[in-house]
Amino acid sequence: MIFQVLFTALTAAAMFYFLIVTRTSALRRLFVLFFFGAGIGFILDPDLTTTIANLVGIGRGADLIFYLSTLFLFFLCFNYHVRFMALQEQLTRIVRELAVRNPVQEEDPSPRR
């Protein structure tokens, strides 16, 4: 019982944080609502996961949660990898721009103009 109260409170707090404090797109907020809503539902009624698991051919509810978590984390990693690559591209552009703008040395030492 104490687990359910604690986790419901934590999940609800996280949900409100994402919905109200961070300003994201409507689609993402809908996803957050669904995701955390389902989480709270599963915490309050753990047997619900088993019912859904059986519907999709998985034996135990805990396994369903495990598979979904793995998928989610994989997606998250991929997402961060893409962002990392974009950031690296930006860094490259900045470093290149700086290098081209301020040569350490010019081919012709006499001033141009």
Partner: protein, 240 residues
């Protein structure tokens, strides 16, 4: 050091004036001055890109008539090459050469490469370690690795090249946009071949000798670098 001989081709004044040699260097303070001086002897323009060396590589070039750029942080050889190419284009380059700062390439191959562009009218000229003249002191393991890399590149690009990962090559300024390097690190050599294929550019190979010295071997790619290159390319393809 130079191995120029009687039949080494020469650049005309016009060819030499349009030629920009982009030399990338990362911690090459011991050899970079000698490398740049040998290239300058051809009367071509030289752009050195110091990829954030920590040994004072750029300072070694003081007084030489070459442009020296410096990356604020180390980005890798592909990125350094692209930086040099962009500066050279801005300065009016017509023929671009990429050249390694560690002294493994022979500057006498530069006129041959430029002639492929000016006299054979190709877009790209590639130097190959496996055409006739043999690389000096190539280890057996490296030969096997490079041959395997060539087979892989032939398979994935359909280009009939004999050497896939030589850093010495030349291309015309007009095709530089099509050859823009986005792979910051070592996968840029393979990327170049993919781009030649995608843009339908004409190319030819010339035989070239690479000097594998204790110095270059210690600095160069480890054999397992091939795995890194394949990984970089796969990720780039997945995420394109």
């Amino acid at each position: 050091m130079s191995r120029a001989d009687a039949d080494t081709p020469r650049l005309s004044a016009e060819e030499a004036n349009g030629t920009y040699v982009v030399i990338t260097a990362f911690n090459e303070a011991k050899v970079i001055r000698d490398v740049v001086q040998r290239v300058l002897a051809l009367d071509v323009h030289v752009v050195v890109v110091d990829d954030a060396s920590t040994d004072g590589t750029a300072a070694q070039l003081r007084g030489l008539p070459s442009t020296v750029l410096r990356h604020a942080v180390n980005l890798g050889q592909g990125a350094a090459t692209q930086t040099g190419v962009e500066l050279a284009l801005a300065r009016g380059a017509r023929y671009l050469i990429t050249f390694d700062g560690d002294g493994q390439h022979d500057e006498n191959d530069i006129p041959r490469l430029v002639h492929v562009l000016t006299r054979e009218h190709r877009d790209v000229a590639l130097a190959s370690r496996f055409l006739g003249r043999e690389a000096l002191d190539m280890t057996r393991a490296r030969r096997l690795l490079l041959k395997a890399a060539v087979r892989y590149m032939r398979l994935t690009t359909g280009l009939r090249v004999s050497d896939a990962h030589n850093g010495l090559r030349a291309f015309r300024a007009e095709v530089a946009p099509a050859l823009r390097i986005t792979q910051n690190r070592m996968a840029h050599a393979s990327e170049l071949l993919h781009r030649i294929k995608a843009a339908g550019l004409s190319y030819a190979e010339i035989p070239a000798v690479i000097r594998y010295t204790e110095y270059s071997r210690a600095k160069g790619q480890k054999g397992l670098g091939a795995i890194d290159i394949i990984y970089e390319l796969l990720m780039a393809r997945l995420l394109r």
